[in-house]
Structure formats: C-alpha cells, structure tokens
C-alpha cells in the first residue's frame, strides 16, 4: 500500500519521503512505514504524525502518542472507542463487500487522497505497477470507494510541477553502479544490503551484468577482485558483519592495485546487532580495515542523489587510482524512498573510459611512475602479460623481498593519495554564514541535520550551520578548517555511540567538538530531536 500511496502523492506534484521500520523476522512483529510529504523537498522523516493508518491494534497503541492533537486515525471501526481521533469507517467490511479483504489498503489509499484533497491521477498506470493483473479491477474500485467515503480535511499548497522519480537508497546505489559501468556484482545476502543484490539481479540481462550470490563474503570480494582484474568493473556489497570477512581481500585490492568498489550498508553492531535497523558505526572500522598500509577512498552517502552520483563516481575513481573505494550507506538511507529530480545521465563518467595504451613488449604492470598510477591493461587483450600479486612485487609483478623495491613500491602506492586528495569533494555547507553553532555530520544524517538547521535558522535569524561530509576518508579538510574557527560551538551529530567523525576530525585537524549528539538505538534521529536537543541541551 505504501508504494502505491507514495506514487500517487508524487504524481500529484508533492515531494515524498518514506521510511520503513521492520523487525528482523519474516512474519509478524510490528512493522510500519512512515510517509512524509509536502510541497517542498522532504529530506527526512518526522516523529510528529498528522495521521495514522492502522491495520492492527498494535499500530494504534504504539503510535497514537506521536499523533498531533488534531491528527486523524484510520483504522477498523471495531476500535473506534480507543481514541477520539479515529475516523470510524468499516474498512474491512467494505473490502469484504468488494469481494476481497485485501483491498483494504486501496480503500485506505483512496481515503487519504481525499482527506488531503488530492485527485488520484493515472490510477490504472499506478496500480498496474504494483498490483497483479487479476486484482487490478477490484483495487481500482476499492480506491474510488475509499475516495468517496470522506470529505476533504487538509489543503496543501500546490506541489511544484515537474516529473520526479521515486527511488530507494539501495536502488539509487545500484543504479549508480550501472551508470558507473558495473559488469560484475557478487554478494552474500545480508540485511540491509540484500536489496542491492536483488535489484542488480533484476537488471542483469538488461544491463549485461554478471550477478553472483557467493558462498560467503570472502568469496564475494575475491570474486569481485578476480572479475575486475580480468577487466570487468566490479562491486561487492554487504553490511558490517560481512565487511569484517572481506577485510583481508580489501588489502589485496590495495596491494595488487585492482579497482574495486565495496558497499557497506551499515546496521547496528557489534556482531549480529540489530539486523534491520540503522547505525553509522563502521566509519573508523572501514577507514583502517585490513592490515598494512594502502590508499583507499571512503565515501559516505548522504542522500538519494548521492547514492546514485557517488556510486558512479566510486567506479570511476577506483579505476583511475586502482584502489578500493568503499561506499558507506546505512539502513535508513538504503530502505527509505524519496522523490527527487531525475538524475542527469549525461554527465556520468563510466570507469571504462580509462583504458591504458601500452607498446607491445614494454609493459610493466607496476611501473614506478610520478603519480604512482601504473598502466592497467586487461589480460588477453594485448601481447603483454598482465600480472598481479598479493606478495610484495617488482615492476613486473614478480615476488620480491628486496628492501629497495619494497620501499619503492610502498611509496608508489601511497603516492596515489596526493592526486586523489586534490579531487576530494569538500563537505556540503548548509545554513547561514552568520552561524554561531556549527553542526558536523556525515552520511544519512544529512537530511535530518539540514532540516534542523533550516528550521532553527528561521527562529534565530541564521545562528546555525552544518558541514555534512560525503567524501570522508581521506578527510577533506579545507572547508572544515575555514569554517570551524568561526563557530562559537561545534557539535557533532552522529548515529553511533562514540562520536567517530569527531574523533577522526580531531586526529586529522586538531579541531575539537564542544558537544555531541549521538544516537545508537537503531532508529534514525529526526530533525525534531536535533532541534529539541539544541534548545534544551538534552536528548529527547
């Protein structure tokens, strides 16, 4: 039902943001979807509800305390005495009358559209996308029936016209990978990364990708490295626990200089943690994962736009620098849907554009170069041997224990960082230059922090700003060093228990945060929480 409703809302010109909250079990438990919409871009969820659609008593009991005093509850009429905000409609009875109890969702969708005075547009097209053919007619009737059951209650400002897409974070990441030129994806199922595996499988034939479910995460990453060595841009995806298993091979990608994209869709740890919930606690782990020293890039995804563009960019940079690039996302972003402007497809540079040209017989896979980047060829494509070694090696790729060569190779690999650092993207600055308080955040807290800053600035005439990191390791320092000294108070806002970004910033720049807002209960913080903390200095 959520998918259908969010599409109707989007098609009426509104912006939509949908998050899903489920328990780690296949059936039962309390699962819910939170849909937020409005005429302006919605960047995150909210804890304050205008309405509740409850199909069971639990939903009613658990959420009614978050409902505004003048909010509404749509639920079966048998619970009508529980809360005076209930709109008593015999939803189940009507659904049965229509011939199928499961059309209850479509009836509710109709009711919601009417309450918000929204005309259901392209009904058939929308339903066809989500509902099986044989149930189309009855759901259409149910929707129209629902629409007729109530009067209008809210009137929203008209949405901005323009065609938008609605996409989840993991879909956007996977689509970005396709734009970046992915040809090989291997993974072992693990929430909340599995939808990438599923999505890419569904596009394998259309986009010519080999998608392989590996026997374990170690196989998954070693496969991706093997495919990349043979010339297929490759990615492997997982969550923190699976990333733990991939760590040795991450170093192989660094040592053998094989381009690789690794997606870590974070969930609360340690160990199995809270499998279906959210956290940002893998930062310090992934920036130092694997023994030894080698260059890597870590990009945190902040939004549904980032998920596409930054994943595509990850492929390009992995290939350009022949390094592992780690994409850090989390369950909140992965499973949430947002309506956004369509992606600009023309500007994306695919990884394949970087083929080296080498004269026959002169090839040295690991040639020592000024910028540290050696020519990378595809084996079998030229009369040159392409070699690759996890042992320390000479320019030809042969094992060596020479101290001199070791030093040269170590320095060559690390030299790649010089050029890479020049093309790092600085964090996004949001808010006003008259700020007194500067928030620091990274990844998916982008939405809640941005909203909080904007709302706080409306009340305080511009006393707030934030720096929100996407590229996070190596840490881009320029803007931070410029903005931090001008703040009276610096607060790091993170979805973890130890303030990992604050620690990283302190280590790299000496800048110390005055305060921190940390959340690690597995639920994403909202802008409401940030505002309340900022005002009162206490957590909600």
């Amino acid at each position: 039902m959520a998918a259908v409703l969010q599409k109707f809302l989007k098609d009426s010109g509104l912006y939509v943001f949908t998050t899903r909250d489920f328990m780690s079990r296949v059936r039962g438990g309390h699962n819910f979807t939170l849909i937020r919409f409005g005429a302006e871009q919605v960047l995150s969820h909210s804890d304050i509800l205008d309405g509740i659609i409850a199909f069971d008593e639990d939903s009613l009991v658990l959420h009614s305390k978050s409902l505004k005093p003048d909010g509404f509850i749509l639920c079966d009429s048998q619970w009508k005495d529980k809360d005076q905000r209930i709109i008593p409609l015999d939803l189940l009875g009507i659904a049965k009358e229509l011939g199928n109890a499961r059309t209850i969702g479509s009836i509710a969708t109709g009711v919601i559209l009417k309450l918000f005075d929204l005309e259901p547009v392209h009904i058939e097209d929308t339903l066809r996308k989500y509902i099986k053919k044989q149930y189309l007619e009855e759901n259409r009737n149910a929707l129209l029936r629902g629409y007729g059951l109530v009067g209008k209650r809210y009137s929203l400002p008209a949405g901005e016209p323009g065609e938008r897409i609605i996409i989840s974070g993991n879909q956007a990441l996977a689509f970005g990978a396709i734009a970046g030129g992915i040809r090989f994806y291997s993974a072992y199922p693990m929430s909340p990364s599995t939808t990438i595996l599923e999505y890419l499988s569904s596009k394998a034939t259309e986009a010519d990708i080999v998608v392989e479910q590996a026997e374990d995460e170690i196989a998954a990453i070693n496969m991706a490295i093997g495919a990349a060595f043979a010339g297929a841009p490759a990615m492997t995806g997982t969550s923190g626990g699976g990333f733990c298993l991939k760590v040795e091979a991450l170093g192989l990608s660094g040592m053998a200089e094989i381009p690789l994209v690794v997606a870590d869709i974070q969930r609360p740890g340690p160990a199995t943690g809270l499998p279906t919930r959210t956290e940002q606690s893998d930062l310090k782990f992934v920036i130092s994962a694997s023994h030894g020293e080698f260059p890597r890039l870590v990009i945190a995804l902040r939004s549904h736009r980032d998920a596409f563009y930054q994943t595509a960019r990850a492929f390009y940079l992995a290939r350009k620098y022949q390094i592992p690039v780690i994409i850090l996302s989390d369950q909140y972003l992965a499973d949430s849907y947002a309506s956004i402007e369509p992606y600009e497809l023309d500007g994306v540079q695919p990884a394949q554009e970087l083929e080296a040209v080498v004269e026959e017989g002169t090839y040295l896979r690991y040639r020592i170069t000024e910028d540290g980047i050696s020519p990378l060829l595809v084996p079998g494509k030229t009369k040159n041997f392409v070699t690759s070694d996890s042992d320390e090696h000479d320019e030809r790729g042969w094992i060596t224990e020479s101290a001199e060569v070791r030093n040269q190779m170590m320095e060559k690999r690390l030299r790649k960082l010089i050029k890479l650092k020049e093309e790092l993207q600085e964090p996004e600055f949001v808010g006003e230059d008259t700020y007194e308080t500067l928030f620091l955040g990274w990844g998916s807290t982008y939405g809640p922090i941005t909203e909080a800053v904007n709302r706080l600035n409306r009340e305080t005439s511009g006393k707030y700003a934030a720096l929100l990191f996407g590229d996070i390791y190596p840490l881009p320092e320029k803007l931070l060093k410029e903005k931090a000294p001008r703040a009276k108070r610096i607060i790091n806002i993170e979805q973890n228990a130890t303030g990992q970004l604050a620690e990283l910033i302190r280590e790299k720049t000496g800048i110390v945060c005055d305060d921190s807002l940390l959340k690690y209960d597995g639920r994403q913080m909202s802008s409401d929480e940030i505002i309340s903390y900022t005002r009162k200095g206490v957590k909600l």
């Binding site: 080999v210 998954a220 070693n222 040795e248 070694d389």
Partner: protein, 281 residues
Amino acid sequence: MSNFSTHQTAWCPGCGNFQILDSLKTALEELGKDPYEVLMVAGIGQAAKLPQYISANFFCGLHGRSLPAAVAAKMANEKLTVIVDTGDGDSYGEGGNHFIHNIRRNVDITHFVHDNQIYGLTKGQASPTSMEGMVTDVQVNGNANTPLNPVLLAIACGAGFVARAFSGRKEHLVSVMKEAIEYKGYAIVDILQPCVSFNKLNTFAYYNQRVYELGEGYDPYNKIAAMEKSMEFGEKIPIGILYKEDKADYHQKNPVLKAGVPLIDIERSPDVLKNIMQDFF
C-alpha cells in the same frame, strides 16, 4: 625455447613441483595455447608460486582464495584459459568452502592441486590430506584427524571432471592435464607431489611404488564405480581420470553469458540508463 619459458624458481631441489611445472608447460604447448590468453591463478604456498615461473598472465591472490578469483576472471572473459595451480592446504583447508561451492558453480576452469599432504611454505604442519599419525612440529603426537579424500568429495559434490595424477609420471600427467584443460566445466586434478623437505612419509618412492594407471577397461562415466575407485588410497593408488560427466557449465546457464560473447566485450545498449530511470517515474 618454449613459449612458456621458465623463470628461476624458489623450490627445493628434488621437489615434485618441478615436474608439475614442466608437465604443465608441455601440456599448454601441445594444446597450442597462446600464452597471452592463458591466466594462471594461485593462492599462497609453495605450489602457489608456480604462476610466477611460467610465461603467462597471472593472478597470485590470497591464501585459500584462488578459486573465487579464478572463476570470476573466467566469467569476465571466457576467452582466457584459466588454470589454478595451488596447494592442498590452499585448496582444501583455507579454501575448503570455495572448493565445494565452485564444484556446484561449474565454471570452465582447471584446478591443479599440488597435493604434498603437508603445509610446505609454513614449514611442515599437517594439511587436510596428511595421513593419520603423521608427526610434525605441531602434530607432536601424530596427526589425529582423518585425512580428507578430495577426489571422493569432488565426485560427491557433483564435479564433472575428477582426476588424480602423480608428479613423477610426466607423460601420464601431461595427458591428464590436457584433458582437464580441454574439459568444458570445472576440472580438478589432485596431483600427488612429494615434498622432500617436510613430508618424510609420502616420499617419491612411496607414491612411485603405489600408483597405477587406470586402464582402458575403466569407465570414467560410471559414478558409483568412480566413487569406489576414489576410495582406493593405500597399498595401491589409482591415477587417471576417475570420473567424467558432460554437463552444462556456468556460462551456458547464465543469461548474460550464454550467447558466447565475453562479458567485457558485450556492448551495453546506450539506452540502458534512460530505460532504467523510466522505472522510477
């Protein structure tokens, strides 16, 4: 000079690895392979150094992880002749899970296991195929574990080409290697290989006295008989192709690869991105 000419090796004089390397070069030459289209893959160990000693492309990855890298390279470019040469510890110990599951995957690669029944590179600890009772610096009271039977396991897991060979019988080894490389699908050859430095039990003489070639009368297509034959490992050790079965390989079953164009050569339609974005409107 041979197409696959050798570089200097770091093996002990008298090691069975030399004959395996020599046989492999002969096999590749007799098959008329272009060295630039051969990809040698290995993990880590003494055997795993073989790719360094042959003129071909090579990928020397992590201990135990040669198979995932090898099968994926083949998925990326089926024009490559992909050969894994690596140790028994690498293949059956650290890489045991990959061994089982890549049999099921049935990608068209060849897996030569240098089975010296010992961990050579790390100076002589028991491997999964070490004999019960073998005394080492770690197994001070003798190896208490039952040795793994890799050929029986491979047949049981559904491998389509399972063979055993001995490094000391070059002509036979070359012929088995050639058939394994030519086989369309995953082919494993467990090659008995004396380690002169650390395995004092399974010496050249030990193997030489015991091995016998499977004769003309042996039918490798009979699975039950093959399993029975694979269990013979004692006073007599059969060498040759124990089991063979014609079955569809990974590429034939994969919707993207079955047309026969290497993945890296498939031109993606320029409209793919536009079409995919259409789904999200």
